[in-house]
């Protein structure tokens, strides 16, 4: 196992796209959260009555412990960036035909898929680390008077990791099956950004929300909208409570779907000609 990770690290550590991704993620995660944070500051600072109402309604979503939730939610919009790297890491193997050479040199077919699973895990962990640093940073910066609450809601760290890993696994499956980087990326973008969003929104109103069982939505529900969304009326509160209540079952669905994806990869790789 360790040997596989070491070999994958040899492949990744000098791969420019990986470091570009890390750089962009390291800019995007704080960027999107900073934008939201300044929006919040704008709405809540001032002496107007509305400012005070806003402050009362919103709380501070970037103070501990709510920062773990808010930053996870906003950062998770950008799964696209690490997805590109994951797709490149698998399609590169086809382009360079190293998926054959690795086997010729002595890997089993299972070891090849396991090594790719570690790639996805490495990228997911890196994204999660960036998230933890950003969320922690906001927590410290936004309101130092509540630092003592830092350790509640830490469950958002494993939830963010699980969601990232699950969604990157879908990207991997696409790259693995399609083999061509640009076609896989095209399908991924079109489905992730357009098709599923429309389907989920439609199903929410017309079809008893069965859209929550679509591949990305299954794990999207691990990180519901931050708590302040629930403070705009009775319906919002009810839907927030519902979103929180279904998180455990979505954890189970996510694990089953992700396990299924990897089992498909193992099964296909065992049989197919390389």
């Amino acid at each position: 196992m360790l040997a596989l990770i070491q070999i994958e690290w040899l492949k990744i550590k000098k791969y420019p796209a990986f470091w570009w991704m890390l750089g962009i993620v390291a800019l995007t995660y704080p960027g999107i959260n900073a934008m939201t944070y300044y929006g919040y500051l704008k709405a809540t600072t001032g002496k107007e009555v509305t400012n005070n109402i806003a402050k009362m309604l919103l709380g501070n979503p970037f103070a501990f412990p709510e920062t773990w939730h808010s930053v996870a939610y906003f950062s998770s919009f950008f799964i696209l960036l690490p997805s590109i790297v994951v797709i490149m890491l698998v399609t590169n193997e086809y382009t360079f035909r190293t998926h054959r050479q690795n086997i010729i040199d002595g890997w089993s077919r299972n070891q090849f898929i396991t090594s790719k699973l570690f790639d996805v895990l490495i990228v997911a962990i890196v994204a999660t680390l960036v998230y933890v640093v950003v969320a922690g940073g906001f927590g410290i910066y936004a309101d130092s008077s509540v630092l003592y609450q830092w350790s509640s809601q830490l469950q958002y760290i494993p939830l963010f990791l699980l969601q990232t890993f699950a969604q990157l696994s879908i990207a991997f499956l696409l790259g693995y099956l399609v083999k061509k980087a640009f076609i896989a990326l095209g399908i991924f973008l079109f489905y992730y950004l357009i098709v599923e969003n429309i389907a989920v929104a439609y199903a929410r109103f017309k079809m008893n929300d069965i859209g929550r069982f679509l591949p990305f939505e299954i794990s999207d529900r691990l990180l519901p909208s931050p708590a302040f969304f629930s403070r705009f009326g009775k319906d919002a509160k009810a839907s927030y409570d519902h979103a929180l209540a279904i998180v455990p079952e979505h954890i189970a669905y996510t694990i089953v779907l992700t396990a299924g994806i990897w089992l498909i990869c193992y099964a296909v790789h065992k049989r197919r000609d390389l």
């Binding site: 040997a3 070491q6 070999i7 040899l10 492949k11 000098k14 791969y15 420019p16 590169n92 360079f96 035909r97 190293t98 054959r100 050479q101 690795n102 086997i103 010729i104 040199d105 002595g106 890997w107 089993s108 077919r109 070891q111 049989r271 000609d273 390389l274």
Partner: protein
């Protein structure tokens, strides 16, 4: 002599195209085994199967008496079809990966093989910056890593310049002298003839012949003779006993005998007694090229 590789009725089809139709042969230890055949005859498919890149539809193979597995592949240095490396990594980084996966060699060994293929000066350049010939050399270096007992080379001189081709030929001879078993696919017959001890000839997925080069080539003795009066020579030779057939080629006559039955003294005496003085008398070995065309032409 032990058998390194044994193939047993290997068959493989790509949809309606039958790439291999039940191929069986053995590769003895310490030989240089040439796998020959025209384009599309199934050479690379066969090598891909024994390296577990392709799955055979039926049949089986064994390396060192065991079914093919990652453990057996680690003992074999292989170059299959094209040099397959990470474009953004240097030669050394790529060989580090080969080393880590196969367990063959170490850092010093990487330097040694790069020296053999003359890439030492460019060992830190990215693979993507290499010329075709350099890429091929790196693939050979990767196969040589850890000095494996068995090597599989698919068209090893692809993309090399004449000097490079000669170097690889010498390298293969040197490896063979050190007792390595080399399995080599090529359509450069001249090259194969120069280095191989054994050959197998494939055509459209069927094995036409396999065995030691001498056995495959010399299924008959060819004696070439000539004299000033070629017509008279031809007429008289028709009376000579035990030949299989006679052929006139320009100002020479070729007489074919079953293998081991050509007696030069008898031919010389026969002609002289008929009043013909020969100005040429020699036993001709059939070239691999002749044999190849004979077998593969419809």
């Amino acid at each position: 002599m032990q058998t390194v590789l044994s193939l047993n009725t290997i068959a493989k089809a790509y949809g309606p195209i039958k790439a291999l139709k039940g191929v069986s042969f053995d590769v003895p230890e310490g030989c240089v085994f040439g796998l020959l055949g025209p384009n599309g005859s199934g050479k690379t498919t066969l090598l891909s199967i024994i390296l577990d890149i392709l799955k055979a539809d039926t049949g089986s193979f064994s390396w060192f008496g065991q079914p093919g597995s990652p453990a057996t592949r680690k003992q074999i240095g292989s170059l299959l079809e094209t040099p397959n490396f990470y474009q953004y990594l240097s030669a050394v980084d790529n060989l580090n990966i080969t080393q880590a996966i196969s367990g063959r060699g170490n850092a010093a060994e990487i330097d040694r093989v790069l020296e053999i293929v003359k890439l030492t000066e460019r060992k830190k350049s990215k693979f993507s910056a290499y010329s075709l010939g350099m890429k091929q050399r790196l693939a050979i270096a990767a196969a040589l890593l850890g000095d494996p007992q068995v090597l599989v080379f698919d068209e090893p001189t692809n993309g090399l310049d004449p000097v490079g081709i000669a170097e690889i030929r010498e390298l293969i001879k040197e490896l063979a002298q050190r007792g390595k078993t080399i399995i080599m696919a090529s359509h450069l017959l001249d090259e194969v003839e120069k280095v191989c001890t054994h050959v197998a000839i494939l055509k459209r997925g069927t094995l036409l012949t396999a065995g030691a080069v001498d056995e495959v080539l010399s299924n008959e003795d060819i004696v070439e003779v000539s004299s000033n009066d070629i017509h008279s020579l031809l007429a008289h030779l028709a009376e000579f006993p035990n030949y299989t057939h006679i052929k006139q080629e320009a100002n020479k006559v070729q007489i074919f005998f079953p293998v081991g039955t050509a007696k030069m003294e008898d031919i010389n005496r026969f002609c002289f007694e008929k009043g013909i003085v020969l100005n040429l008398l020699l036993v001709k070995k059939k070239s691999l090229e002749t044999k190849f065309f004979e077998l593969t032409n419809d």
